[in-house]
Symmetry: C2
Subunit: 473 residues, 2 copies
């Protein structure tokens, strides 16, 4: 493309959003072009920040006219290189962050309608201000946008009870690859009128269209949340405790996290100020959260009842139930500091996998053994949302080997872990998505029929191939 | 097509499924060709009953080769002419009822894997035998198949807590329009690896492919279910009671049905043996169901607590809480006899609509008034799943006008009701689907952009247009 074309194209962008919202100077565009973990920096023709759905649609029409690739971006907290452009420099980076209004809150319908660029935490706060709960909760909630959460079908710590982002969304507004606006902002619990476009755009990582708005479900705010940490002998016992707690507590059980002792030692090493929960140590720990709509007393009694049974049955070894908000925060802090402790320890090879819940213990045993055989002394840092079958199964080098050197083993380590995931009927991306990072892995593990169907959908909805190219497929 | 082609085609079908499972004699095929309510009888080249996914795939490949339309059918209990062929006589009717195995039950993963032709009630029973709950529950459960439930994204009485069929499904096996088998039978709570094919096939009413198997979610069986009936002054009070009960009971509130006094009078007239719940009468009634994982005592106390508050606040006028299973069944029997009482009274004009929950009372007031103005003395029989915003809003003739004569008014009555639904942001099909019956209504009310997207998906996945033609689009 000629310089003249580029100048005209940029001028057309400026005419749509205003000159102040079209960035082309590398100093200005740099913060948008490097991924969250700092592993990759792409290039873009320009970074454009529209302020409305109408402006997004006009930009996409302009890009379709000139066959310019469009890379939508929210809070840029994704972990799979889904929201940064490649290094060709041909793409227009379209930041949604100026679309940040809460459009409406309907307390009786229990819905909130928001722009895609709203920060997740602001959506949580808008709900809480009306004494309601928007239950999506994850580490990046202070920076990530709800549009990004929808585009990646984000998970987090509340999935056991409330589902993934997909299950929390009733309706969408989308700018199609043709630059048309699909108004699917319906706040309906039941609507069986044709194909489920909503769920097709959710999780499509901007490759089929751009989500610009959403109607989200809200829930009555529970009266109390109770947290407990339980010391266990094995992942198998963690599964037994999950079964017992689900049966005993029913839907009041809202969170169930697993952490190995390796994780807790890592946290203790790098954050020695954090209190240790038990005088002794156990191979595994489960973090339970219960939400009661009745009272704190009810919640504590219910959770203690489940744990007492587990202790009597020998499933649990020791337990602490938080009796104050400060104690509860301290227990969650251990869980939340695992990724930070890992980062402090050095780079590692991360996996975000899911398994049938029933296969988790066998998967951990088998995969630990395969890795130990291939890399004697290797450290597996395994934690995650056990209630959803989702493990963050991260691999650090054996003692004495530099973290950076070990990263060279990424491909063979991925092969061991992902082959094992496939053998146990799991998924190589539980909650992070595919992006550019896992595209080749996806092509390797997906059945051919499924890839063909996905390609047919991509060709049908984005025939020019301009929507976030190189991601997923 | 020539007689020779037809003979060869039928022979090829026989070679795939065995001669005994290919019906061509009108006496044999008749039971498959008339819709559940007896309003329409189609014609088919043959009725074929495959016994396996492999046989379904072979039949679809044969049909694709010869451009023969395929109409999949489960229990034939659909209400929108979705599973019967048109009267052209060109289609192959493919009955899934011989695919009726429970393939696996994983108690720890809380999943059951079933053939699409399994009767819903059998799936419920297979779960209950392991002390687990498959919560999909609807009037046709003794006859309908899970494949039909998935194809129409069926709703029912448990949606408030457990969601529609869509939310109860983790994975699918589908025979594509090309006769290939997509094995998406994954039992994973989290899986973000590409486009959501599962939810595209769910609710597509067999127009994109044929669902042959599914992995379904199970839940811990509650210890007790408590039912209550509450007398109310208005739909607005029913909404206030719903709010109060949801806040007070949280996720233990598993059902919330609305019935008008017109409904109860109709039931009393046609089923005089059913006991009347109250000595007096109220304009509206709410039926509440609460499920406790703790104990019956806990459930009763919680539900009574919510109702007491509602009585004190003047929201509720009177209430009865069932103290035995027999009493609970008697309360549900009133609700379940409404459609039967309607059928006994004569034909009527039915609507299955959904609204934002917050707009329900206004919708009922406004639409009742529009109908009364157009048809003085008209009877509105309104009941439904208020917790999901789903009303069965059925219209019977004024006194003195024959039911059959009133049916001639179907089109203008539909226009009044569906225009009102659209004005209040609702859907013209909440849980029954579109089929052939509501196809023209869909085309009228859907935004053009949405119809274009749906047509693009249909063309992408079924380019020959052989999958259940004339349904939805």
């Amino acid at each position: 493309m000629t310089d003249g074309f580029i100048a005209n194209f940029i001028d057309d962008c400026r005419a749509i959003v205003g000159a102040a919202h079209v960035l082309t100077d590398p100093v200005d565009t740099a913060p948008y072009l490097t991924d969250w973990r700092g592993r990759f920096t792409g290039r873009a023709r320009a970074v454009v920040s529209p302020a409305s759905t109408v402006e997004v649609a006009a930009l996409v029409r302009l890009c379709a006219q000139h066959r310019v690739p469009v890379v939508p971006q929210g809070g840029r907290t994704g972990l799979v290189l889904g929201s940064v452009p490649d290094d060709s420099g041909t793409a227009l980076l379209l930041s949604l962050r100026r679309l940040n209004r809460v459009r409406a809150l309907d307390a009786v319908n229990r819905t909130i309608t928001v722009d895609a660029g709203c920060i997740l935490q602001h959506v949580q706060e808008a709900a809480a201000a009306e004494n309601m709960l928007f239950p999506l909760s994850l580490a990046a909630e202070g920076s990530c946008t709800i549009g990004g959460n929808l585009a990646t079908n984000a998970g987090g710590t509340g999935v056991l009870r409330y589902g993934n982002t997909r299950e929390l969304c009733l309706g969408l507004e989308v700018v199609t690859a043709q630059g048309e606006v699909w108004d699917g902002l319906r706040g309906l619990r039941k609507d069986n009128t044709g194909y489920d476009l909503r769920d097709l755009y959710i999780g499509a990582e901007g490759t089929l269209g751009i989500i610009t708005g959403a109607v989200l479900k809200l829930f009555p705010q529970p009266k109390a949340s109770i947290t407990a940490l339980v010391g266990l002998c094995s992942p198998g016992d963690a599964l037994q405790l999950l079964q017992l707690a689900e049966s005993h507590c029913g839907p009041t059980l809202t969170g169930y996290e697993l952490m190995s002792d390796v994780c807790l030692r890592l946290v203790a090493t790098h954050f020695p100020a954090l209190p240790q929960p038990f005088p002794g140590r156990y191979p595994e720990y489960a973090l339970l959260e219960l939400s009661s709509h009745e009272s704190e007393r009810h919640g504590v009694a219910l959770l203690e009842g489940a744990i007492e049974r587990a202790l009597e049955a020998g499933i649990a070894q020791d337990a602490v139930v938080a009796t104050s908000i400060a104690q509860s925060r301290a227990l969650w802090a251990i869980r939340e500091h695992i990724p930070l402790a890992q980062a402090a320890a050095g780079k590692n090879i991360k996996h975000d996998v899911s398994l049938p819940v029933s296969r988790i213990a066998d998967f951990i045993d088998a995969t630990d053994a395969l890795l130990a055989a291939a890399y004697p002394g290797v450290q597996v840092v395994c934690f995650g949302h056990l209630g959803d079958g989702n493990l963050h199964y991260n691999i650090a080098p054996p003692e004495g080997i530099a973290h950076d050197d070990f990263l060279a083993e990424q491909a063979p380590v991925n092969r061991i872990v992902h082959d094992s995931v496939a053998a146990f009927g799991g998924s190589i991306s539980a909650e992070h998505g595919v992006g550019a990072l896992k595209r080749d892995e996806l092509a390797r593990y997906k059945p051919r029929v499924e890839l063909d169907l996905m390609r047919a959908l991509k060709a049908a909805l984005d025939p020019l191939g301009i929507m976030n190219p190189g991601k997923i497929l």
